[in-house]
Amino acid sequence: MSRASRLLLMVVMAQMLLSVLGAGAAHAQSAAPAQSAPAMDRNGSATGSASDLSPSAQGSKLTLQSLADEVGHNKVATAFIWLMVGFALVFFMQAGFALLETGFVRAKNAVHTMGMNMVIFFIGVIGWFLVGFPIMFGGMGHLTTLGSIVNLNGMLEVAKGWGILGTKGFAGAGIYDVGVLAFFLFQLVFMDTAATIPTGAMAERFKWSAFVVYGFFISMILYPLFGNWVWGGGWLSQLGANLGLGNGYLDFAGSTVVHAMGGFVALAGAIVLGARIGKFNKDGSPNAIPGHHIPMAVLGTLFLAFGWIGFNGASTLAGGDFRLAMIITNTFLACAFGGVTAMLIMWKQFGKPDISMTCNGALAGLVAITAPCAFVAPWAAAVIGVVAGGLVIGGVFFVERVLKVDDPVGAVAVHGFNGLWGVLALGIFADGTYGAGDNGITHAVTGLLYGGADQFAAQAIGAVTVVVVALGGGYVFFKVLDMIMGIRVSPEEEIQGLDLPQMGTLAYPDFSGSAPDWVTPHPSGLGSPPGKTVPATMTSVSLDEGGAGA
């Protein structure tokens, strides 16, 4: 043991001893209250009193107004803290996606897949700051739970009350305000969640340069556009006020705004890219291409579920809204029912409790409960989860065997189809106990089972809209981008694995240390010795064919 660690141990032990003694003293004190004010508050009973209110602390007189100001400040403070906790939790979902997607792809594409999941975040932040946030939220008015100082009043409308995009706050202009920036941060990580979803469906063949362009497109234009219509005060949110359809289109934490957006852009991208080499046989039947690291994917799934505490819970935008306990309960009920349902179906159908599909089932439950989590009872959350667990398997098979589209991680089924199920489930199961005042409508949110057919109609309109925007917009974007620069790597690069030719490094190099010059990545990425052609399938040095290294 080193000298420093021995010293540290002594300090820790001394502190433990002191705290034991201190606890005894506090006990004695509460039994017989001391005459003089305690110098230290050991049991927490004396900390926080009228003397801590701002006017008293500053020596001025406490008035009813100053007291009310202080209470208001604290109310907003709980919202700020809850939002920052939510921001941290949802940010961590980026790590969840990175592990999940990378676990589901082959080792030769691990750096590329992991890299996309990191870099999309950085690109997204830039796009969101410059253009994304203003388009989505520039016209949403006052942020009522966060201080309501700034009025985000820039909305482009096609008719009175029919907003289509926000126009205030480009590159941070006019939003230099703590309340708006708290909201900016929290919404930022939602956008980046949507942006990272398609990288999974497009993995193992997506050209890096095209990926970078895509990152700006979704964070600056496509995501904020639909988001404005739902969360930014745009036309879908006003279906209640304008057409009398319930509380307008509702999506509490983003089953469609985030997940179906990501899922259907993923479908568009996978269609334009085409299937991975070897995925489909000549007769159209699919082949299995197992992922290289299932433990990694399981860890990613658990990280995502962890992040969902903030994703759904903090979407109250208010720490004092105690419905958040119900929201998080519903979230995990749907997650559990979704995961177990998927496991049981796979077990029954194929003989093994396929863990990769169990991951997808749990995530499907989470995606589906994201829209209705605040508005439904726990039993409904369980039902939503069970349906999600079945829907995700059906969805994976539908994409693979009917559409003949290659989605290595199941992003379309998990996020696309279950995102739609989520908003429709809201329109079915919302029980009229929550959401009074949402989108300016005074009554609580009521679904089909409780007589709210109009709410269901609003949900159906929103569900169709997100498919049109995400699948249609995504398809046009990828088609045009493919014509301009090409979005798919060459077959040689794909067979070799994208890590060396696209990224210049392997995820898991077998040997390190010195190597002949020609082994280091060649500009072509193939590492060919001068005057000698190495088959594209060889990643570095292979001992096949008499030893290329000899």
Partner: protein, 112 residues
């Protein structure tokens, strides 16, 4: 000197190793290999798609011994690695021209 290459089942490694140790043969090199013989592959599933595994995972033991030990080693491996089912493996014997111990520089039989 002969080189004995024995392809065996994974689960038989401990039995074979112990039995060889009992007859005084300790030196060996063991490698994970995949291959096909008479044993057919099997089918697994990945996310509901069929995953045909036609090369079965096996272990390969490489053992170099003096000529007079070859019969004993083969007998021991056959006795301990055998289950009677298809897929028990194969043994191949080849001549070895020379052996050198890198540390001592000993050659031939002394190097083993």
């Amino acid at each position: 000197m002969k080189k004995i290459e024995a392809i065996i089942r994974h689960i038989k490694l401990d039995d074979v190793k112990t039995a060889l140790d009992e007859i005084g043969v300790r030196g060996m090199t063991v490698t994970d290999v995949k291959g096909a013989g008479k044993q057919k592959g099997y089918t697994e599933q990945w996310r509901g798609s069929k995953l045909a595994i036609f090369l079965n995972p096996k272990l390969e033991l490489k053992i170099v011994v003096p000529d007079d030990r070859v019969a004993g080693v083969i007998d021991t491996i056959v006795q301990t690695a055998r289950t009677g089912e298809i897929g028990d493996g194969k043994i191949f014997v080849t001549n070895v021209e020379e052996a050198v111990a890198i540390r001592s520089g000993a050659r031939g039989r002394d190097a083993l």
